[in-house]
C-alpha cells in the first residue's frame, strides 16, 4: 500500500506516492530529478547526500521518504535565487574548495544549516558542523576557508 505524501521541496509543494522502503535520496533524485543529492556510503556516514529538512542537515540516505511528509526539504538546486548563486556556493568557487565535486553539494548543505543557526561560526564550529561530510580530495582546509568566507560575506551584507 503506497502512502501519498505532500512535502515542500525547494519552495514548491510536491506530492508523491511512496513505498515503505523508499529513501528520501531516491525520491529526490529519481522522482524529482534533484541529482545534486549524491549517494556515497548509503549508510549515513559520508554526508554526500546531505539535504536540509526543516532547516536541519540530514543524510537523505537515512531518512525514510514517508517521514518527509509535511516537511520542508532544501537541496542545492534550491539555493540559487534569480540566477545568482548562494553566497556559500560562490565562496566554494572563490576559495577553490571544489576538486572532484562529489562531496560538494553535501558540504554546502551542511554549511547552509550551520550558517542559518550560527552566522559567525569559529573554525572549530565549522569543523564540527562538517564532521559528518567526508572529502577525499581537498584536505578540508579550503572547504573550511570557504565556509568562513561565506560567513564573513553574510556578515557584511547584514551590517
Amino acid at each position: 500500500m503506497d502512502l501519498k505524501i505532500e512535502l515542500m521541496i525547494n519552495g514548491k509543494i510536491r506530492v508523491a506516492e511512496v513505498k515503505a522502503s523508499d529513501r528520501l535520496i531516491d525520491t529526490l533524485r529519481e522522482i524529482f530529478g534533484l541529482v545534486s543529492v549524491k549517494e556515497g556510503c548509503g549508510a549515513g556516514e559520508c554526508g554526500a547526500c546531505t539535504v536540509l529538512m526543516d532547516g536541519e542537515a540530514v543524510c537523505s540516505c537515512a531518512v525514510p521518504t514517508f517521514q518527509a511528509d509535511g516537511h520542508d526539504i532544501l537541496t542545492v538546486e534550491g539555493l540559487e535565487e534569480n540566477g545568482e548563486l548562494d553566497v556559500i556556493q560562490q565562496s566554494f568557487i572563490d576559495c577553490d574548495a571544489v576538486q572532484c565535486g562529489f562531496c560538494t553539494p553535501g558540504m554546502i548543505m551542511s554549511a547552509k544549516a550551520l550558517l542559518l543557526k550560527n552566522p559567525s561560526p569559529s573554525r572549530e564550529e565549522i569543523r564540527t558542523a562538517l564532521a559528518g561530510n567526508i572529502c577525499r580530495c581537498t584536505g578540508y582546509t579550503q572547504i573550511i576557508d570557504a565556509v568562513e568566507t561565506a560567513a564573513k560575506r553574510i556578515g557584511r551584507c547584514h551590517r
Binding site: M1, A43, E45, C59, P64, S110
Partner: protein, 294 residues
C-alpha cells in the same frame, strides 16, 4: 504489498495494531538504523508504522522528581536541552557525541535503545542514570529498566512484537553528578569501541551510591558492581582501584577475545577521563550552589 501507517495519536496506533493482527510489524523511529538494516527488503506481508507523528512520544520535561523524555526525541533535541544538561549530564554527553550532526538530527533515544547495538551510546548513559523505560502495548503500559529491555543478546531487544518504547523517566536527584565518554576509531562521527557512563552521589571529595555501566562488552550497558564499590574509596586510592575493577570486569565479560587487551587499556583511559569529568562537575555544582545560596 507492505502496509504503511502513520498514526497521529497513540489511540490511532492502538487501533491499527489490532487491525494488523499477527502481521510482522516494523516500528520506525528516526529510521537511521532501520533503513540501513532493511535495505529495502521488507516483506509484502509486513506492516510499517511511522512513529514520528504521535505527539505522546515527544517532549522533554521535569515532572515531580523525574526527567521525562519522549522516545521520539532526537539526539540533537536531547543534548541541546538545558534540563537534560543539568539533570542527566551523562545522557547529554552521550547524545552529543553520537554520529554526525546529520544523524543526531534524526536518530532518536527510543530507537537507539530498541536497536540494541552493543556500541550504542545513550542506553549506557540512561542505565547509569537509573532511567526507567515506559513500554506501551494494547494491553497496557509497563515499566522496565534499560538492562531488561536490552536483555542478553546483542542487537536484539526483549520487547514483545506489539510493544513500543513510549518514554523514559530519569530520576532527578540533588547532589549527584554523571558523565559519559567513549573512544572510537575517529575523533568525531565515531562508533564506540568502548563507552562508559557513571553517576554518583558526592559529598566533598568522596562518592557514594555510584552506578557504572560499560557498553561494547557484548551489550550496550553492562553494570560493573566492582567498579561502583571502588568509587566510594578515599580519593588517593580511587583511580587505581577503579581501573583495576574495570579491567577485571572486561576479563569476565569477554574472556579470550582478541580485543580484550585493547579494551582494557581503553577502559583505563576512560576511567581517568570520567573521574576527571565527575570531579570537575562536582566543583561546578558546588560553586553554583554556593553562588545561589550566597
Amino acid at each position: 504489498m507492505t502496509a504503511l501507517f502513520a498514526p497521529k495519536s497513540v489511540n490511532e496506533f492502538s487501533a491499527l495494531l489490532v487491525e494488523c493482527g499477527e502481521r510482522k510489524k516494523h516500528f520506525v523511529a528516526g529510521g537511521t538504523d532501520w533503513l540501513i538494516k532493511t535495505r529495502g527488503n521488507i516483506s509484502d506481508e509486513a506492516a510499517v508504522f511511522d512513529m514520528s507523528k504521535m505527539p505522546e512520544l515527544r517532549g522533554i520535561e521535569i515532572i515531580d522528581s523525574s526527567l521525562r523524555l519522549g522516545a521520539m526525541e532526537t539526539m540533537t533535541s536531547i543534548h541541546s536541552n538545558m534540563a537534560v544538561m543539568l539533570n542527566a549530564t551523562a545522557l547529554s554527553d552521550a547524545a552529543s557525541s553520537m554520529g554526525s550532526v546529520q544523524i543526531r538530527n534524526r536518530a532518536t533515544v527510543g530507537g537507539n535503545l530498541a536497536n540494541a547495538s552493543p556500541a550504542a551510546d545513550t542506553p549506557c548513559a540512561l542505565a547509569a542514570l537509573g532511567a526507567s523505560v515506559i513500554v506501551f502495548s494494547i494491553s497496557g503500559r509497563k515499566v522496565l529498566s534499560i538492562e531488561e529491555v536490552l536483555g542478553s543478546c546483542p542487537n536484539t531487544n526483549t520487547l514483545l512484537p506489539n510493544e513500543i518504547i513510549m518514554e523514559f523517566c530519569v530520576p532527578v536527584r540533588k547532589g549527584y553528578v554523571s558523565a559519559f565518554k567513549k573512544i572510537g576509531s575517529r575523533s568525531e562521527v565515531s562508533i564506540a569501541r568502548v563507552n562508559m557512563a557513571v553517576s554518583a552521589k558526592y559529598e566533598g571529595e568522596t562518592f557514594s551510591d555510584a552506578r557504572v555501566f560499560v557498553g561494547t562488552l557484548g551489550s550496550a550497558a553492562k553494570r560493573c558492581l566492582g567498579a561502583e564499590n571502588t568509587l566510594a574509596l578515599d580519593p588517593s586510592l580511587r583511580e587505581q582501584s577503579f581501573k583495576e575493577a574495570l579491567c577485571e570486569f572486561a576479563e569476565q565479560m569477554i574472556p579470550g577475545r582478541s580485543t580484550l587487551s585493547y579494551k582494557k587499556s581503553v577502559l583505563k583511559a576512560l576511567a581517568e577521563d570520567l573521574l576527571g569529568m565527575l570531579e570537575e562537575r562536582v566543583r561546578v555544582s558546588e560553586k553554583s550552589g554556593e553562588e545561589s545560596h550566597g
